[in-house]
């Protein structure tokens, strides 16, 4: 029967082409949208993890309460011991300390007087240990625009856009004016050895990257750090595992001291939980909307088809074919169109998504004033669900569309058939 119906669909293009195209286009859009949102979510998680929170994040309880103000006076002290313990207890995680700081970067003229200065948001990471994971996490080497990477103490990188704004070249001396952990004003000279493009507008505008030991000295933070970040080795955030490690760590450090360390997952830090939940529900909303819209379109197509096939159905009824059999054959036809259309749509959707996964879309023009930790280039991401997610609306919509429009078969009166067929 399936072979018979397939032949019918193939030979009568007007019966199959429009529904097939509708399903294929709808499925393609659905697959593409799913992959695109997947990409945006992954990019957001990746940027936030790399530049802000890590997959796991440890701060002192007091620091965590005011984290958006970067309160280095509340930073953790004794991080060397803590890092040793973390590496022993959770060897599967990559642990790295960081200090965030703010201040002014002052560029002197030849007389040592201020030539230009600008507000800077700094990130201090381990740059001088040969096997530091930060080179890979922050992709530093590939991000260099001018100059070179820091090789010794006292050398820093600054955002390329920031360097152009300050009109400084690699090799220039810059004085960082900031506050120490104890609130005193601190002035420290650094050599700018290179400029970088982090690919995150919020950082490119006014960021500096320095070795953590230099900043510990500058900020009077010996053996202290604002945060310790943990990364999964595959660089993918695993929520359940992160929750498990967090619970185990916090159970070990359950003292009420405001300066005791507290671990949180990427999801929990910086309001990411709400965002990720929102993205999750968006995927469901998109699928539902597509199923509804496609169903309406295909219902309409089914109605038109039924009208066009009015005579055919009448003849089939007249020759004694059961109404249920006709209805069933129409549903099978719809499922076949759904399958073929979904395959076609998925192939097209995955192809477009894969292209945008490789090429990406540069959104830097709308990111100029943003403070979000999100890359300037957004890419789609093809994941295993991309290959089957389109089948849900594709099949469901054709089936529902035909099921609704096919009900008309049962309204036909056999007694009226000859009159209707004008025989």
């Amino acid at each position: 029967m399936i072979k018979f119906l397939l032949k019918g669909l193939w030979r009568d293009r007007s019966r199959s082409l429009f529904p097939l195209l509708t399903v294929a286009i709808g499925v393609m859009l659905c697959v593409f949208l799913y992959s695109w949102m997947n990409g945006v979510e992954s990019e957001f998680i990746r940027s936030t993890a790399h530049f802000a929170t890590g997959h796991l994040n440890i701060m002192s309880r007091a620091y965590a309460n005011e984290a958006d103000q970067v309160p280095n006076d509340l930073a953790m002290i004794g991080i060397d011991t803590l890092l040793t313990k973390l590496r022993a207890n959770y060897p599967e995680i990559i642990w790295t300390p960081r200090i965030k700081f703010g201040g002014l970067l002052d560029i002197p003229d030849k007389n040592g007087e201020t030539r230009v200065q600008g507000p800077v948001s700094g990130l201090a990471v381990d740059l001088l240990t040969p096997d530091s994971p930060e080179w890979k996490i922050l992709n530093i080497r590939k991000s260099i625009v001018r100059g070179r990477v820091p090789e010794k103490s006292g050398e820093i990188l600054i955002g390329d856009e920031f360097a152009r704004k300050l009109d400084v070249q690699p090799g220039a001396i810059a004085t960082l004016i900031t506050s120490t952990m104890y609130g005193s004003m601190s002035m420290t000279n650094f050599t700018i050895v290179g400029t970088v493009r982090f690919g995150v507008a919020a950082m490119d505008r006014g960021a500096m990257l320095a070795d953590i030991s230099d900043i510990q000295n500058a900020l009077d933070m010996q053996d202290a750090a604002g945060e310790i970040l943990g990364f999964f080795p595959d660089d993918i955030y695993h929520d359940k595992l992160a929750e498990k490690i967090t619970a185990s760590f916090n159970a070990r450090h359950a003292s009420g001291d405001q300066f005791s360390p507290e671990m949180a997952t990427l999801r929990a830090r910086s309001g990411m939980a709400d965002y990720l939940n929102m993205i999750g529900s968006y995927a469901g909303i998109i699928l539902t909307v597509f199923v509804v819209i496609l169903s309406i379109v295909l219902w309409n197509a089914g109605l038109m088809g039924s009208l066009r096939r009015y005579g055919e159905i009448g003849v089939r009824l007249a020759v004694g074919e059961d109404k249920g059999h006709i209805y069933k054959s129409m549903l099978i036809e719809a499922v076949m169109i759904g399958i073929i259309g979904s395959i076609l749509g998925t192939v097209l959707g995955v192809a477009v998504s894969y292209y945008l996964q490789i090429k990406g879309v540069d959104i830097s023009f709308i990111m100029k004033n943003t403070t979000m930790m999100i890359s300037n280039v957004i890419r789609a991401q093809v994941t295993p669900p991309s290959f089957f997610i389109g089948f849900i609306p594709g099949l469901l919509a054709t089936f529902l569309g035909s099921a609704i429009s096919g009900i008309g078969i049962y309204r036909r009166q056999t007694s009226q058939l000859f009159k209707e067929l004008e025989v």
Binding site: D73, G112, T114, M185
Partner: protein
């Protein structure tokens, strides 16, 4: 006995008349002028300590300050070792800071003026203020109070111009010594920003001087900053070169 009671009644009555007489004699502007006159001298050299009580403990910063007139000063930090040699120069409405570790002199301006001085509850903006409050504020007596057994006037100060750090202040002035014993500083919205409590007052060179003051930035956590004046000399000659940018590097 009747005579004794009569005497007491007369004495109390006279005292009340005297106090009310004083109260009525001085306007807010006059009280503020007397407060400024008590504080003001042509020049001063002071050695002081700031004990900053932060959330992580306390630390002490020692400094020596040379002050000329109302708007010129030079400060050299003496301790702790990390701050030693750091110098600040204030000339009118400009403030420079010198750091010996970088050998750089930086002008403190813009939003940096709102930052805390050495982590204390005082900002650079606080240090930049004209020492004479009468130049900055209109004063009005709003009441009387007693602080540590000393009768005080409560003065409400409102800024004469827009570019002041605090739009309004409430000060408690000792009625006998014309020295401020307490102060609250407010934003234009009426929000309390800083409080000051004078804990110890001493007479030096024929003027009343606050020896120990507790400053508290209400928006900051911690126990505040204690300012202790170890020594002060009034009207001593200070060479002009002291108030030059060149002196910062010496």
């Amino acid at each position: 006995m009747r005579r004794l009671i009569l005497l007491i009644v007369i004495a109390v009555g006279m005292s009340l008349i005297t106090i009310s007489g004083i109260t009525q004699t001085f306007s807010g502007e006059e009280i503020l002028k007397k407060v400024d006159d008590n504080q003001y001298s042509e020049s001063k050299i002071a050695v002081s300590r700031m004990i900053i009580h932060g959330r992580r403990g306390s630390r002490t910063i020692e400094a020596k300050t040379w002050i000329q007139g109302a708007d010129t000063s030079f400060t050299e930090y003496l301790a702790p070792a990390r701050e030693e040699g750091t110098k600040m120069l204030k000339l009118g409405d400009k403030l420079w800071m010198y750091s010996p570790s970088t050998d750089r002199t930086i002008m403190i301006s813009g939003h940096m003026l709102r930052q805390s001085v050495m982590g204390s509850d005082l900002s650079y903006e606080d240090m930049m203020e004209d020492h004479r409050l009468e130049n900055l504020y209109d004063a009005k007596v709003s009441g009387q109070d007693t602080l540590d057994g000393r009768p005080c006037w409560i003065l409400d100060l409102t800024a004469k111009k827009e570019d002041v750090a605090y739009y309004s202040r409430k000060i408690w002035v000792d009625q006998e010594r014309f020295i401020m014993l307490k102060e609250n500083r407010y934003a234009k919205s009426g929000k309390l920003l800083k409080t000051t409590q004078i804990r110890d007052v001493e007479k030096m060179d024929n003027r009343w001087v606050a020896k120990s003051v507790l400053f508290k930035d209400v928006l900051k956590q911690g126990e505040g900053t204690e300012f202790i004046l170890d020594s002060i000399q009034f009207d001593v000659p200070i060479p002009d070169y002291m108030f030059s940018k060149a002196a910062l590097r010496k």
